[in-house]
Protein backbone atom coordinates (compact mmCIF):
# COMPACT_ATOMS: atom_id res chain seq x y z
CA UNK A 1 0.00 0.00 0.00
CA UNK A 2 2.86 2.32 0.83
CA UNK A 3 4.36 1.74 -2.62
CA UNK A 4 0.98 2.39 -4.20
CA UNK A 5 0.59 5.80 -2.61
CA UNK A 6 4.17 6.67 -3.52
CA UNK A 7 3.40 5.77 -7.14
CA UNK A 8 0.28 7.87 -6.99
CA UNK A 9 2.28 10.78 -5.64
CA UNK A 10 4.86 10.56 -8.43
CA UNK A 11 2.09 10.22 -11.01
CA UNK A 12 0.32 13.32 -9.73
CA UNK A 13 3.58 15.26 -9.69
CA UNK A 14 4.37 14.20 -13.26
CA UNK A 15 0.87 15.05 -14.46
CA UNK A 16 1.00 18.47 -12.78
CA UNK A 17 4.40 19.11 -14.31
CA UNK A 18 3.14 18.12 -17.76
CA UNK A 19 0.15 20.46 -17.52
CA UNK A 20 2.12 23.36 -16.05
CA UNK A 21 4.81 23.18 -18.72
CA UNK A 22 2.25 22.75 -21.49
CA UNK A 23 0.74 26.03 -20.30
CA UNK A 24 4.19 27.63 -20.18
CA UNK A 25 4.68 26.45 -23.76
CA UNK A 26 1.53 28.29 -24.84
CA UNK A 27 2.07 31.41 -22.75
CA UNK A 28 5.79 32.03 -23.08
CA UNK A 29 6.69 34.62 -25.66
CA UNK A 30 10.13 33.28 -26.53
CA UNK A 31 9.82 30.47 -29.12
CA UNK A 32 12.94 28.63 -27.93
CA UNK A 33 11.66 28.62 -24.36
CA UNK A 34 8.30 27.37 -25.62
CA UNK A 35 9.96 24.39 -27.29
CA UNK A 36 11.93 23.65 -24.13
CA UNK A 37 8.78 23.81 -22.03
CA UNK A 38 7.24 21.28 -24.41
CA UNK A 39 10.26 19.02 -23.93
CA UNK A 40 9.76 19.07 -20.17
CA UNK A 41 6.05 18.45 -20.64
CA UNK A 42 6.73 15.42 -22.86
CA UNK A 43 9.26 14.08 -20.41
CA UNK A 44 6.74 14.36 -17.59
CA UNK A 45 4.16 12.63 -19.79
CA UNK A 46 6.54 9.74 -20.37
CA UNK A 47 6.96 9.37 -16.60
CA UNK A 48 3.18 9.13 -16.37
CA UNK A 49 3.20 6.45 -19.10
CA UNK A 50 5.76 4.42 -17.17
CA UNK A 51 3.56 4.55 -14.07
CA UNK A 52 0.60 3.41 -16.20
CA UNK A 53 2.79 0.36 -17.02
CA UNK A 54 3.27 1.31 -20.66
CA UNK A 55 7.08 1.64 -20.76
CA UNK A 56 7.27 1.13 -24.52
CA UNK A 57 5.08 4.15 -25.21
CA UNK A 58 7.08 6.15 -22.68
CA UNK A 59 10.36 5.32 -24.42
CA UNK A 60 8.93 6.06 -27.87
CA UNK A 61 7.53 9.35 -26.59
CA UNK A 62 10.96 10.49 -25.43
CA UNK A 63 12.94 9.10 -28.40
CA UNK A 64 10.64 10.34 -31.14
CA UNK A 65 9.16 13.54 -29.75
CA UNK A 66 11.64 14.92 -27.23
CA UNK A 67 14.74 13.40 -28.84
CA UNK A 68 14.11 13.96 -32.53
CA UNK A 69 11.20 16.16 -33.52
CA UNK A 70 11.66 18.89 -30.93
CA UNK A 71 15.42 18.98 -31.53
CA UNK A 72 14.64 19.79 -35.16
CA UNK A 73 12.20 22.51 -34.03
CA UNK A 74 14.93 23.92 -31.81
CA UNK A 75 17.34 23.82 -34.73
CA UNK A 76 15.14 25.82 -37.01
CA UNK A 77 14.40 28.38 -34.30
CA UNK A 78 18.08 28.79 -33.42
CA UNK A 79 19.22 29.02 -37.03
CA UNK A 80 16.58 31.61 -37.92
CA UNK A 81 17.23 33.40 -34.63
CA UNK A 82 13.52 34.03 -34.08
CA UNK A 83 13.10 36.97 -31.69
CA UNK A 84 10.75 37.18 -28.75
CA UNK A 85 7.17 37.79 -29.83
CA UNK A 86 5.70 41.18 -29.12
CA UNK A 87 2.38 41.17 -27.32
CA UNK A 88 -0.44 41.65 -29.81
CA UNK A 89 -4.00 42.81 -29.35
CA UNK A 90 -5.46 45.48 -27.17
CA UNK A 91 -4.33 45.73 -23.61
CA UNK A 92 -7.86 46.38 -22.33
CA UNK A 93 -8.56 44.43 -19.15
CA UNK A 94 -12.05 43.32 -20.27
CA UNK A 95 -10.44 41.27 -23.10
CA UNK A 96 -8.12 39.52 -20.70
CA UNK A 97 -10.90 38.72 -18.30
CA UNK A 98 -13.09 37.37 -21.09
CA UNK A 99 -10.34 35.19 -22.56
CA UNK A 100 -9.48 33.83 -19.12
CA UNK A 101 -13.16 33.05 -18.56
CA UNK A 102 -13.35 31.28 -21.94
CA UNK A 103 -10.38 29.08 -21.05
CA UNK A 104 -11.94 28.28 -17.69
CA UNK A 105 -15.29 27.31 -19.22
CA UNK A 106 -13.56 25.15 -21.82
CA UNK A 107 -11.53 23.42 -19.11
CA UNK A 108 -14.67 22.68 -17.11
CA UNK A 109 -16.42 21.23 -20.17
CA UNK A 110 -13.39 19.13 -21.04
CA UNK A 111 -13.06 17.79 -17.51
CA UNK A 112 -16.73 16.89 -17.24
CA UNK A 113 -16.59 15.17 -20.63
CA UNK A 114 -13.52 13.20 -19.60
CA UNK A 115 -15.20 12.23 -16.34
CA UNK A 116 -18.30 10.89 -18.04
CA UNK A 117 -16.66 9.23 -21.07
CA UNK A 118 -12.98 8.89 -20.29
CA UNK A 119 -13.26 5.65 -18.33
CA UNK A 120 -15.32 3.91 -21.02
CA UNK A 121 -12.38 3.42 -23.39
CA UNK A 122 -11.77 -0.31 -23.59
CA UNK A 123 -9.07 -1.28 -21.08
CA UNK A 124 -8.11 -4.31 -23.21
CA UNK A 125 -6.19 -2.22 -25.73
CA UNK A 126 -4.23 -0.43 -23.05
CA UNK A 127 -3.49 -3.68 -21.25
CA UNK A 128 -2.35 -5.53 -24.37
CA UNK A 129 -0.16 -2.63 -25.47
CA UNK A 130 1.22 -1.89 -22.05
CA UNK A 131 1.25 -4.78 -19.61
CA UNK A 132 3.56 -7.77 -19.23
CA UNK A 133 5.21 -8.73 -22.51
CA UNK A 134 4.36 -5.28 -23.81
CA UNK A 135 6.76 -5.00 -26.74
CA UNK A 136 5.82 -8.35 -28.27
CA UNK A 137 2.11 -7.69 -27.79
CA UNK A 138 2.32 -4.23 -29.31
CA UNK A 139 4.34 -5.55 -32.26
CA UNK A 140 1.82 -8.35 -32.85
CA UNK A 141 -1.04 -5.84 -32.88
CA UNK A 142 0.89 -3.53 -35.18
CA UNK A 143 1.68 -6.22 -37.73
CA UNK A 144 -1.68 -8.00 -37.71
CA UNK A 145 -4.72 -5.95 -36.84
CA UNK A 146 -3.32 -2.53 -37.63
CA UNK A 147 -1.01 -3.50 -40.48
CA UNK A 148 -2.87 -1.55 -43.12
CA UNK A 149 -3.03 1.71 -41.14
CA UNK A 150 0.61 1.24 -40.14
CA UNK A 151 1.72 0.91 -43.76
CA UNK A 152 -0.58 3.71 -44.87
CA UNK A 153 1.03 5.98 -42.28
CA UNK A 154 4.51 5.21 -43.55
CA UNK A 155 3.39 5.99 -47.12
CA UNK A 156 1.91 9.24 -45.85
CA UNK A 157 5.21 10.18 -44.22
CA UNK A 158 7.06 9.30 -47.42
CA UNK A 159 4.70 11.50 -49.41
CA UNK A 160 5.33 14.37 -47.00
CA UNK A 161 9.08 13.84 -47.38
CA UNK A 162 8.92 13.85 -51.18
CA UNK A 163 6.66 16.89 -51.09
CA UNK A 164 9.04 18.80 -48.83
CA UNK A 165 11.91 17.93 -51.13
CA UNK A 166 10.01 19.06 -54.22
CA UNK A 167 9.11 22.36 -52.54
CA UNK A 168 12.59 23.06 -51.21
CA UNK A 169 14.44 22.24 -54.43
CA UNK A 170 16.09 25.28 -56.04
CA UNK A 171 14.04 26.84 -58.85
CA UNK A 172 16.78 26.49 -61.52
CA UNK A 173 16.87 22.70 -61.44
CA UNK A 174 13.23 22.26 -62.41
Amino acid sequence: MAALTATRLVFDAAATLAIVFASVMVIHRHPVKSVLALVVSFFALSIAYVLLSAPLIAAVQVIVYAGAILVLFLFVLMLLNVPEEARHGSGRPIHRILSAAAILVFAVFLLSLLRSHGATASPAVGASAGGGADVAAAARLLFSEHLLSFEALSVLLLAALVGAFALARPETQR
Binding site: P55, L56, A59, V62, A68, V71, L72, L74, D134, V135
Partner: protein, 346 residues
Protein backbone atom coordinates in the same frame (compact mmCIF):
# COMPACT_ATOMS: atom_id res chain seq x y z
CA UNK B 1 8.54 -3.46 -0.04
CA UNK B 2 10.43 -3.72 3.19
CA UNK B 3 13.27 -1.48 4.27
CA UNK B 4 15.77 -4.16 3.19
CA UNK B 5 14.33 -4.17 -0.32
CA UNK B 6 14.66 -0.41 -0.51
CA UNK B 7 18.24 -0.64 0.69
CA UNK B 8 19.13 -3.34 -1.84
CA UNK B 9 17.57 -1.35 -4.68
CA UNK B 10 19.40 1.79 -3.60
CA UNK B 11 22.74 -0.04 -3.54
CA UNK B 12 22.04 -1.69 -6.90
CA UNK B 13 21.26 1.65 -8.53
CA UNK B 14 23.93 3.74 -6.83
CA UNK B 15 26.84 1.30 -7.03
CA UNK B 16 27.61 1.79 -10.74
CA UNK B 17 27.12 5.56 -10.58
CA UNK B 18 29.43 5.91 -7.58
CA UNK B 19 31.92 3.54 -9.20
CA UNK B 20 31.97 5.71 -12.33
CA UNK B 21 32.42 8.90 -10.33
CA UNK B 22 35.26 7.27 -8.38
CA UNK B 23 37.15 5.93 -11.40
CA UNK B 24 36.47 8.99 -13.56
CA UNK B 25 39.91 10.53 -12.87
CA UNK B 26 41.58 7.41 -14.28
CA UNK B 27 40.47 7.82 -17.93
CA UNK B 28 41.26 11.54 -17.60
CA UNK B 29 44.77 10.69 -16.48
CA UNK B 30 45.00 7.95 -19.10
CA UNK B 31 43.96 10.39 -21.82
CA UNK B 32 46.80 12.79 -21.08
CA UNK B 33 49.36 10.16 -20.30
CA UNK B 34 48.31 8.20 -23.42
CA UNK B 35 48.58 11.34 -25.50
CA UNK B 36 52.11 11.72 -24.18
CA UNK B 37 52.91 8.12 -25.04
CA UNK B 38 51.55 8.41 -28.58
CA UNK B 39 53.19 11.79 -29.23
CA UNK B 40 56.50 10.63 -27.75
CA UNK B 41 56.55 13.05 -24.80
CA UNK B 42 56.22 12.40 -21.05
CA UNK B 43 52.72 13.78 -20.42
CA UNK B 44 51.77 14.87 -16.87
CA UNK B 45 54.59 13.82 -14.55
CA UNK B 46 54.89 16.45 -11.76
CA UNK B 47 51.92 15.76 -9.47
CA UNK B 48 52.35 12.42 -7.73
CA UNK B 49 53.99 9.30 -9.20
CA UNK B 50 53.57 9.22 -13.01
CA UNK B 51 51.42 12.33 -12.69
CA UNK B 52 48.66 10.18 -11.18
CA UNK B 53 47.35 13.00 -9.00
CA UNK B 54 47.02 15.38 -11.95
CA UNK B 55 43.18 14.93 -12.21
CA UNK B 56 42.94 15.82 -8.50
CA UNK B 57 44.95 18.98 -9.07
CA UNK B 58 42.70 19.79 -12.04
CA UNK B 59 39.60 19.29 -9.90
CA UNK B 60 40.95 21.66 -7.24
CA UNK B 61 41.70 24.19 -9.96
CA UNK B 62 38.15 23.91 -11.35
CA UNK B 63 36.74 24.54 -7.87
CA UNK B 64 38.97 27.55 -7.24
CA UNK B 65 38.49 29.32 -10.57
CA UNK B 66 36.08 32.19 -10.94
CA UNK B 67 32.71 30.97 -12.19
CA UNK B 68 31.98 33.49 -14.91
CA UNK B 69 28.60 34.00 -16.53
CA UNK B 70 29.04 36.43 -19.43
CA UNK B 71 26.63 39.31 -19.93
CA UNK B 72 23.82 38.85 -22.48
CA UNK B 73 23.63 35.13 -21.93
CA UNK B 74 20.39 33.40 -21.13
CA UNK B 75 21.27 32.83 -17.48
CA UNK B 76 18.79 30.07 -16.66
CA UNK B 77 19.63 27.89 -19.68
CA UNK B 78 23.34 28.69 -19.35
CA UNK B 79 23.31 27.26 -15.83
CA UNK B 80 21.03 24.28 -16.59
CA UNK B 81 22.85 23.09 -19.74
CA UNK B 82 25.90 21.45 -18.11
CA UNK B 83 23.54 19.83 -15.60
CA UNK B 84 21.51 18.25 -18.41
CA UNK B 85 24.69 16.98 -20.06
CA UNK B 86 25.99 15.32 -16.90
CA UNK B 87 22.56 14.03 -15.79
CA UNK B 88 21.76 12.28 -19.05
CA UNK B 89 25.25 10.79 -19.12
CA UNK B 90 25.07 9.39 -15.57
CA UNK B 91 21.51 8.02 -15.67
CA UNK B 92 22.14 5.92 -18.79
CA UNK B 93 24.16 3.41 -16.76
CA UNK B 94 21.06 2.35 -14.80
CA UNK B 95 20.02 -0.40 -17.24
CA UNK B 96 23.44 -1.88 -18.06
CA UNK B 97 23.98 -5.20 -16.22
CA UNK B 98 27.39 -5.35 -14.53
CA UNK B 99 27.32 -8.87 -13.10
CA UNK B 100 25.27 -12.07 -12.74
CA UNK B 101 22.48 -12.42 -10.20
CA UNK B 102 23.85 -12.84 -6.67
CA UNK B 103 22.04 -14.70 -3.89
CA UNK B 104 22.35 -13.03 -0.51
CA UNK B 105 20.38 -14.37 2.47
CA UNK B 106 17.90 -16.23 0.26
CA UNK B 107 17.23 -13.26 -2.02
CA UNK B 108 18.29 -13.25 -5.62
CA UNK B 109 19.65 -9.84 -6.55
CA UNK B 110 20.37 -9.14 -10.22
CA UNK B 111 23.42 -6.89 -10.59
CA UNK B 112 21.81 -4.21 -12.72
CA UNK B 113 20.36 -0.86 -11.70
CA UNK B 114 16.90 -1.51 -13.13
CA UNK B 115 16.11 -4.59 -15.20
CA UNK B 116 13.37 -2.91 -17.23
CA UNK B 117 11.75 -4.55 -20.24
CA UNK B 118 12.68 -1.63 -22.52
CA UNK B 119 16.36 -1.45 -21.45
CA UNK B 120 17.89 -0.49 -24.79
CA UNK B 121 15.10 1.94 -25.62
CA UNK B 122 15.59 3.67 -22.27
CA UNK B 123 19.25 4.07 -23.12
CA UNK B 124 18.56 5.56 -26.53
CA UNK B 125 15.91 7.84 -25.07
CA UNK B 126 18.40 9.32 -22.60
CA UNK B 127 21.19 9.65 -25.15
CA UNK B 128 18.78 11.50 -27.42
CA UNK B 129 18.11 13.89 -24.53
CA UNK B 130 21.83 14.48 -24.01
CA UNK B 131 21.86 16.57 -27.18
CA UNK B 132 19.87 19.24 -25.32
CA UNK B 133 22.72 19.89 -22.91
CA UNK B 134 25.08 20.74 -25.76
CA UNK B 135 22.60 22.56 -28.01
CA UNK B 136 21.35 24.71 -25.12
CA UNK B 137 24.89 25.48 -23.98
CA UNK B 138 25.68 26.66 -27.50
CA UNK B 139 22.57 28.76 -27.85
CA UNK B 140 22.41 30.31 -24.39
CA UNK B 141 26.03 31.48 -24.56
CA UNK B 142 25.00 34.06 -27.17
CA UNK B 143 28.24 33.51 -29.05
CA UNK B 144 28.61 32.62 -32.74
CA UNK B 145 31.16 29.88 -32.16
CA UNK B 146 29.15 28.32 -29.37
CA UNK B 147 26.00 28.35 -31.48
CA UNK B 148 27.72 26.70 -34.45
CA UNK B 149 29.20 24.09 -32.12
CA UNK B 150 25.81 23.37 -30.56
CA UNK B 151 24.05 23.08 -33.91
CA UNK B 152 26.78 20.87 -35.34
CA UNK B 153 26.49 18.61 -32.35
CA UNK B 154 22.72 18.33 -32.68
CA UNK B 155 22.83 17.46 -36.38
CA UNK B 156 25.66 15.02 -35.83
CA UNK B 157 24.03 13.19 -32.92
CA UNK B 158 20.67 12.87 -34.68
CA UNK B 159 22.30 11.57 -37.87
CA UNK B 160 24.46 9.00 -36.15
CA UNK B 161 21.73 7.92 -33.76
CA UNK B 162 19.92 6.47 -36.77
CA UNK B 163 22.85 4.25 -37.77
CA UNK B 164 23.53 3.40 -34.15
CA UNK B 165 19.98 2.26 -33.34
CA UNK B 166 19.74 0.32 -36.61
CA UNK B 167 22.96 -1.50 -35.74
CA UNK B 168 21.69 -2.19 -32.23
CA UNK B 169 18.41 -3.45 -33.73
CA UNK B 170 20.38 -6.43 -35.07
CA UNK B 171 21.28 -7.42 -31.52
CA UNK B 172 17.70 -6.86 -30.37
CA UNK B 173 16.47 -9.08 -33.20
CA UNK B 174 18.91 -11.85 -32.32
CA UNK B 175 18.09 -11.67 -28.60
CA UNK B 176 14.35 -11.26 -29.15
CA UNK B 177 14.24 -8.79 -26.27
CA UNK B 178 14.99 -5.18 -25.35
CA UNK B 179 16.14 -6.35 -21.93
CA UNK B 180 19.90 -6.03 -21.60
CA UNK B 181 20.10 -8.98 -19.18
CA UNK B 182 18.59 -11.16 -21.95
CA UNK B 183 21.14 -9.78 -24.40
CA UNK B 184 23.95 -10.83 -22.04
CA UNK B 185 22.32 -14.20 -21.35
CA UNK B 186 22.18 -15.10 -25.05
CA UNK B 187 25.92 -14.46 -25.36
CA UNK B 188 27.06 -16.94 -22.71
CA UNK B 189 28.70 -20.19 -23.82
CA UNK B 190 30.56 -21.04 -27.01
CA UNK B 191 30.07 -22.17 -30.59
CA UNK B 192 31.90 -25.39 -31.49
CA UNK B 193 33.50 -25.28 -28.07
CA UNK B 194 36.00 -22.52 -28.76
CA UNK B 195 34.28 -19.46 -30.32
CA UNK B 196 32.55 -17.29 -27.69
CA UNK B 197 28.87 -16.77 -28.54
CA UNK B 198 29.43 -13.02 -28.71
CA UNK B 199 27.31 -11.00 -31.10
CA UNK B 200 30.41 -9.49 -32.64
CA UNK B 201 31.10 -12.66 -34.63
CA UNK B 202 27.81 -13.11 -36.51
CA UNK B 203 27.22 -9.34 -36.63
CA UNK B 204 30.61 -7.86 -37.25
CA UNK B 205 29.20 -5.19 -39.58
CA UNK B 206 26.70 -4.18 -36.93
CA UNK B 207 29.46 -3.86 -34.38
CA UNK B 208 31.61 -1.77 -36.74
CA UNK B 209 28.76 0.65 -37.45
CA UNK B 210 27.73 0.84 -33.81
CA UNK B 211 31.25 1.50 -32.61
CA UNK B 212 31.96 4.20 -35.19
CA UNK B 213 28.64 5.82 -34.30
CA UNK B 214 29.51 5.89 -30.58
CA UNK B 215 32.46 8.13 -31.43
CA UNK B 216 30.11 10.60 -33.08
CA UNK B 217 27.58 10.32 -30.25
CA UNK B 218 30.18 11.14 -27.62
CA UNK B 219 31.66 13.98 -29.71
CA UNK B 220 35.08 12.37 -29.67
CA UNK B 221 37.75 12.67 -32.29
CA UNK B 222 37.67 12.02 -35.26
CA UNK B 223 34.12 13.40 -34.94
CA UNK B 224 34.62 16.18 -32.38
CA UNK B 225 33.45 18.93 -34.73
CA UNK B 226 31.18 20.54 -32.10
CA UNK B 227 34.28 21.64 -30.22
CA UNK B 228 36.78 21.78 -33.08
CA UNK B 229 39.27 24.12 -31.41
CA UNK B 230 40.94 25.11 -34.67
CA UNK B 231 37.75 26.62 -36.08
CA UNK B 232 35.37 27.22 -33.18
CA UNK B 233 37.63 28.27 -30.26
CA UNK B 234 36.03 25.71 -27.93
CA UNK B 235 32.68 25.12 -29.59
CA UNK B 236 29.67 24.86 -27.33
CA UNK B 237 31.67 25.30 -24.13
CA UNK B 238 33.64 28.36 -25.21
CA UNK B 239 31.96 30.61 -22.62
CA UNK B 240 32.03 28.12 -19.77
CA UNK B 241 34.52 28.32 -16.94
CA UNK B 242 35.26 26.72 -13.59
CA UNK B 243 32.95 23.95 -12.45
CA UNK B 244 30.39 24.32 -15.22
CA UNK B 245 33.15 23.55 -17.71
CA UNK B 246 34.24 20.66 -15.52
CA UNK B 247 30.71 19.25 -15.74
CA UNK B 248 30.90 19.14 -19.56
CA UNK B 249 34.32 17.60 -19.23
CA UNK B 250 33.03 14.94 -16.83
CA UNK B 251 30.00 14.28 -19.03
CA UNK B 252 32.29 13.53 -21.97
CA UNK B 253 34.22 10.92 -20.00
CA UNK B 254 31.07 9.40 -18.47
CA UNK B 255 29.64 9.16 -21.99
CA UNK B 256 32.82 7.40 -23.10
CA UNK B 257 32.51 4.87 -20.27
CA UNK B 258 28.80 4.29 -20.95
CA UNK B 259 29.39 3.90 -24.69
CA UNK B 260 32.16 1.38 -24.01
CA UNK B 261 30.02 -0.52 -21.50
CA UNK B 262 27.14 -0.61 -23.98
CA UNK B 263 29.41 -1.88 -26.76
CA UNK B 264 30.65 -4.61 -24.43
CA UNK B 265 27.09 -5.53 -23.40
CA UNK B 266 25.67 -5.65 -26.91
CA UNK B 267 28.53 -7.24 -28.80
CA UNK B 268 31.09 -8.72 -26.40
CA UNK B 269 29.03 -10.73 -23.94
CA UNK B 270 28.75 -8.11 -21.17
CA UNK B 271 30.01 -9.55 -17.89
CA UNK B 272 30.02 -13.15 -19.15
CA UNK B 273 33.19 -15.09 -19.89
CA UNK B 274 32.95 -17.83 -22.54
CA UNK B 275 34.50 -20.69 -20.57
CA UNK B 276 33.46 -19.66 -17.12
CA UNK B 277 30.27 -20.40 -15.23
CA UNK B 278 29.99 -17.97 -12.28
CA UNK B 279 29.29 -19.54 -8.87
CA UNK B 280 28.74 -17.71 -5.60
CA UNK B 281 30.47 -14.54 -4.52
CA UNK B 282 33.75 -15.41 -6.27
CA UNK B 283 31.90 -15.81 -9.56
CA UNK B 284 30.26 -12.43 -9.12
CA UNK B 285 33.60 -10.75 -8.47
CA UNK B 286 35.23 -12.44 -11.48
CA UNK B 287 32.29 -11.49 -13.74
CA UNK B 288 32.24 -7.88 -12.58
CA UNK B 289 36.00 -7.67 -13.13
CA UNK B 290 35.58 -9.16 -16.61
CA UNK B 291 33.00 -6.49 -17.39
CA UNK B 292 35.32 -3.80 -16.03
CA UNK B 293 38.28 -5.09 -18.04
CA UNK B 294 36.33 -5.26 -21.30
CA UNK B 295 34.93 -1.76 -20.76
CA UNK B 296 38.37 -0.40 -19.85
CA UNK B 297 39.77 -1.78 -23.10
CA UNK B 298 37.20 0.12 -25.17
CA UNK B 299 37.78 3.31 -23.18
CA UNK B 300 41.45 2.95 -24.07
CA UNK B 301 40.52 2.55 -27.76
CA UNK B 302 38.61 5.85 -27.50
CA UNK B 303 41.79 7.55 -26.29
CA UNK B 304 44.01 5.70 -28.75
CA UNK B 305 41.85 6.78 -31.69
CA UNK B 306 41.68 10.37 -30.48
CA UNK B 307 45.42 10.83 -30.60
CA UNK B 308 45.87 8.85 -33.82
CA UNK B 309 43.28 10.11 -36.31
CA UNK B 310 42.81 13.66 -37.60
CA UNK B 311 39.43 15.38 -37.48
CA UNK B 312 36.91 14.83 -40.30
CA UNK B 313 35.43 17.69 -42.28
CA UNK B 314 31.75 18.26 -41.58
CA UNK B 315 30.52 17.21 -45.04
CA UNK B 316 32.64 14.06 -44.79
CA UNK B 317 31.08 13.33 -41.42
CA UNK B 318 27.55 13.66 -42.79
CA UNK B 319 28.34 11.61 -45.89
CA UNK B 320 29.84 8.84 -43.76
CA UNK B 321 26.82 8.77 -41.48
CA UNK B 322 24.07 8.77 -44.09
CA UNK B 323 25.67 7.13 -47.11
CA UNK B 324 27.98 4.58 -45.54
CA UNK B 325 26.98 3.67 -41.99
CA UNK B 326 23.20 3.64 -42.41
CA UNK B 327 23.12 1.33 -45.48
CA UNK B 328 25.66 -1.01 -43.87
CA UNK B 329 23.56 -1.09 -40.69
CA UNK B 330 20.46 -1.96 -42.74
CA UNK B 331 22.42 -4.68 -44.52
CA UNK B 332 23.45 -6.06 -41.15
CA UNK B 333 19.83 -6.04 -40.03
CA UNK B 334 18.83 -8.07 -43.11
CA UNK B 335 21.65 -10.51 -42.47
CA UNK B 336 20.60 -11.02 -38.85
CA UNK B 337 16.99 -11.45 -39.91
CA UNK B 338 18.16 -14.13 -42.35
CA UNK B 339 20.10 -15.89 -39.59
CA UNK B 340 17.15 -15.74 -37.23
CA UNK B 341 14.71 -17.07 -39.85
CA UNK B 342 17.13 -19.93 -40.61
CA UNK B 343 17.33 -20.51 -36.83
CA UNK B 344 21.11 -20.28 -36.94
CA UNK B 345 20.91 -17.71 -34.19
CA UNK B 346 19.01 -18.25 -30.94
Amino acid sequence: MTATDWLITAVRVLAPVLAIMLILPIPMWLERRGAGLIQDRPGPNRVGPFGLLQPLADAVKFFMKEDLIPANTDRLLFVIAPGIALFSALTTFAVIPYGPAVTVGGREIPLVGADVSIGILYLFALTSLSVYGIVLAGWSSNNKFSLIGGIRSGAQIISYELAMTTAAAGVILAAGSFRLTDVVAMQTGTWLGFIPRWNVFPQFLGFAVFYVATFAETNRLPFDLPEAEAELVGGYHTEYSAFKFAMFFMAEYVNMIVASALTVTLFFGGWSLPWYEPHGIGGVIVSALAFFAKTAFFVWVFIWVRWTLPRFRYDQLMRLGWKALLPVALLNLLWVAFLVVKRWLP
